[in-house]
């Protein structure tokens, strides 16, 4: 252990200036919102929310940069000559560098927590902060483990930078691609509107990657926290209601963290000293990320020509980066062709089968749990018959749902008849279905719809719904 301790000590001493600068920047960014707005958990959510988002943004940034910094010696032959002969087991060297890096990723959370302890006279809310911080640490470290694994597979710093950036980008693109692919099918199947959520709830899918999970977590934690600070209640129950993440997702992240940390260690141990500064040939870097990024971009909107051209250019540029020269190979064209044909095929199957029988223009009232609707009047003038119907309503009222469905049917008929011409405004409907899915519809409304809309408005007024749920001008 003496060597490990000595290495840690040397590390801090050697990097103390850089660490001090990092601490100062992080502390400033985290504490400034607290200073700008007086801290009051009973009434103000701004400083806490701002600081929480800054902390998570720093977590993410450090998760991408720290693996590059900690293991940069692998990408220089001369530094490999210095580090590899040192009398330390490879696994020990890996875990030391990895562990020190993990601390750097968590520094913003520590600053934030110390700041909260300092600010709060009574520590009644500390467990909630701790829970929020624990989640952010978990997501930050999961991303750190993932990036470290991919960095270990690289042979040069440029390739490692590409991999570090490609990890979160490809994750976000995959989510967008699935969303886009399904949404495009739905919008073709229904009259205006529609979203991917009509197939199934994408929240778990979105939550399966650390960046989006972190933001969901912050939002759920803050909402639950402010609810109990103002109205009381059980934090955990409220938090679970707010959050789309559940215990399984946390176990998934824990496994992701442990699995990729260990896999990265094994990759580090297997790395050959002579690989440094060579071309990266691992299938986990360029072949994987080029496939994911290109596939996702094509899936997002395969039918748009301009978008298709951009994707093809990007595909060849990424290949040029991998090969260190601009080349167009038959294999690359074949890959693009396979992608194109497959995605067009999937799109066609989704259309022909009505989204495997999941997509309907209209839903029965007994399938609908709640309805949210908005009317926006384009004319917005006193003379307009519709001038007072900018409305927002969210209710589980069966009668209201029935009226909404009726209005929806009528509106679709009028939309088909007028095809967008002389519309007076737009109608947005969001059905929350009993099976957990959501169906969105965007329609125009016309003078013929006025009677139904008025009935709808009058009914809402009669019901005296809570102010937060209804807005009528």
């Amino acid at each position: 252990m003496a060597y490990e301790k000595a290495y840690g000590k040397w590390y801090w001493k050697h990097n103390q200036r850089m660490l001090a600068t990092y601490l100062m920047i992080a502390a400033t960014l985290i504490i400034v919102p607290q200073l700008m707005f007086p801290y009051d958990p009973q009434s103000s959510s701004i400083p806490l929310a701002l600081s929480a988002y800054v902390v998570f943004a720093l977590n993410l940034l450090m998760a991408l940069l720290v693996p590059l910094y900690q293991f940069r010696f692998l990408f220089n032959k001369r530094s490999v000559d210095l580090y590899y002969p040192l009398p330390m087991k490879k696994t020990t060297m890996y875990w030391l560098n990895y562990g020190l890096g993990a601390i750097l990723v968590c520094v913003p959370n520590m600053i934030f927590f110390i700041n909260l302890l300092w600010e709060q006279a009574s520590h009644a809310y500390i467990p909630y902060y701790l829970l929020m911080m624990a989640g952010l640490v978990l997501f930050g470290l999961s991303l750190y483990a993932l990036v470290t694994f991919f960095v270990m597979k690289c042979n040069s710093l440029w390739d490692a930078c590409f991999a570090a950036a490609a990890v979160p980008i490809s994750q976000l693109l995959i989510v967008s691609a699935v969303n886009g692919l399904l949404r495009n099918a739905v919008t073709e199947l229904v009259n205006n509107g529609g979203s991917a959520y009509e197939f199934f709830s994408l929240s778990y899918f979105e939550g399966a990657q650390p960046v989006m999970a972190g933001f969901q977590w912050i939002s759920a934690s803050l909402n639950a926290f402010f609810h109990i600070s103002q109205s009381g209640g059980n934090f955990l129950t409220l938090w679970l209601q707010e959050s789309t993440l559940n215990a399984w997702m946390l176990i998934y992240y824990l496994l992701l963290l442990i699995g990729f940390s260990d896999w990265a260690c094994k990759t580090y141990v297997k790395r050959k000293g002579e690989d440094s500064e060579q071309q990266t040939t691992s299938k986990f870097i360029f072949p994987l990320f080029i496939s994911l990024i290109t596939g996702s971009l094509l899936a997002y909107n395969i039918t748009d020509i301009a978008y298709l051209c951009f994707t093809i250019v990007l595909f060849f540029l990424m290949n040029a980066l991998a090969e260190r020269k601009l080349v167009i190979k038959t294999k690359m064209i074949a890959v693009l062709a396979i992608y194109g044909i497959s995605l067009l095929g999937i799109h066609k199957v989704l259309i022909d089968t009505n989204g495997f029988g999941r997509i309907h223009e209209f839903y029965e009232t007994d399938e609908i749990l709640a309805v949210r609707s908005e009317y926006h009047d384009y004319t917005d003038s006193e003379e307009s018959e519709m001038s007072s119907i900018i409305m927002y309503v969210f209710q589980k009222d069966p009668k209201l749902i029935e009226m909404m469905v009726k209005s929806h049917h009528e509106s679709v008929t009028n939309n088909v008849k007028h095809n967008g011409e002389q519309a007076l405004g737009e109608l947005i409907i969001d059905y929350e279905l009993k099976n957990g899915k959501h169906a969105y519809r965007y329609l125009y409304f016309y003078p013929e719809d006025a009677k139904l809309i008025k009935e709808f408005k009058d009914y809402i007024k009669e019901q005296n719904y809570a102010e937060d749920d209804v807005f009528i001008r």
Binding site: Y7, H14, L82, K89
Partner: protein, 297 residues
């Protein structure tokens, strides 16, 4: 004692070392000789645990060296272009190495004075030669059991070389340290090293104690009535051969009397023994190898 047993190493698809068998005894200065790209640096990197061999064994006191902390603690490798941290000084590098090696502070100070080096001056402001001095100095002050120097003396002025040789000789005498040095300067290796290995195309062509090896190698010049033919010498262990019409120069390994008596059967006009020069032997060997490659002889 370090042993290379049937060691193979590939870098990418290229075979860099093949069937290397070398023993490096303790308390010696071991010289590695070879042309550029012959595999000297790969040999040292394998020995220091930077590379892992693809076949065979590299043992230190019968233990595998690769990823073996106990073995690696006894070895310190100074590459031909040593790495220094950003804006670091010699004092910083000493601090780094002292985590793993016991730096002899008195000797370190003594060497600093001897070589007129400022330990607080950033290393990037040092000349190439000074930087090399600085790292060799650190290596010597660290007193490892095996100090590996990759072309360490190249670029040093004669005076500094002499100082280093003197210091190395002292360290070997007082502490059973071994120095393994690769160099292009064969004359220096011949004068300075106790034992050596000559690497040609990834294989060790000649190795052993310097004096024994040189005693067993004979530099012979002969002249004949007619054109010399290479096959006349097939029965001898020829290291290099240089034929110029009716004159031939040979580096031959073996018993001097047996070689001489065989050569007399060829009825040369002249047969004389010349002093063995490692550098000449190496150059001839390289030329000979090129001819073999070109003509497939």
């Amino acid at each position: 004692m370090i042993e290379f047993q049937h060691v193979y190493k590939f870098l990418g698809k290229k075979q860099v070392l093949q069937d290397v068998n070398v023993t490096i005894p303790d308390g010696t200065v071991f010289g590695l000789i070879g042309a550029n790209g012959s595999g000297k640096s790969t040999f040292l990197r394998l020995l220091s645990g930077i590379y892992q061999c693809d076949g065979g064994k590299i043992l230190l006191d019968q233990e595998h060296i690769f990823d073996n902390r106990r073995c690696k603690k006894q070895i310190l490798f100074i590459s031909d272009e040593p790495f220094q941290f950003f804006r670091s000084t010699l004092a910083d590098m000493k601090r780094f190495y002292s985590q793993w090696y016991k730096i002899d502070e008195d000797r370190y100070r003594e060497y600093l004075t001897m070589f007129h080096l400022d330990e607080h001056k950033p290393l990037h402001n040092f000349s190439k030669g000074m930087k090399r001095q600085a790292f060799i100095l650190l290596g010597l002050a660290a007193s490892p059991r095996y100090l590996l120097l990759d072309e360490a003396f190249d670029g040093l002025d004669p005076m500094i070389r002499r100082y280093f040789k003197q210091v190395i000789a002292e360290r070997i005498a007082d502490k059973s340290m071994s120095v393994i040095i690769s160099s292009h300067d064969l004359k220096e290796v011949q004068d300075f090293c106790d034992s050596f290995a000559m690497i040609e195309n990834g294989s060790v062509s000649t190795s052993g104690e310097m004096n024994d090896a040189l005693a067993n190698i004979h530099h012979i010049q002969m002249a004949f009535h007619e054109e010399v033919k290479a096959e006349w010498f097939d029965q001898l262990d020829v290291i290099t051969m240089q034929i110029r019409s009716k004159v031939v120069k040979l580096y031959v390994r073996g018993d001097e009397e047996k070689i001489r008596s065989y050569l007399k059967t060829l009825h040369p006009l002249v047969l004389e023994l010349l002093p063995v020069q490692l550098e000449e032997m190496f150059i001839q060997s390289v030329i000979h190898q090129k001819e073999v490659n070109r003509h497939g002889i």
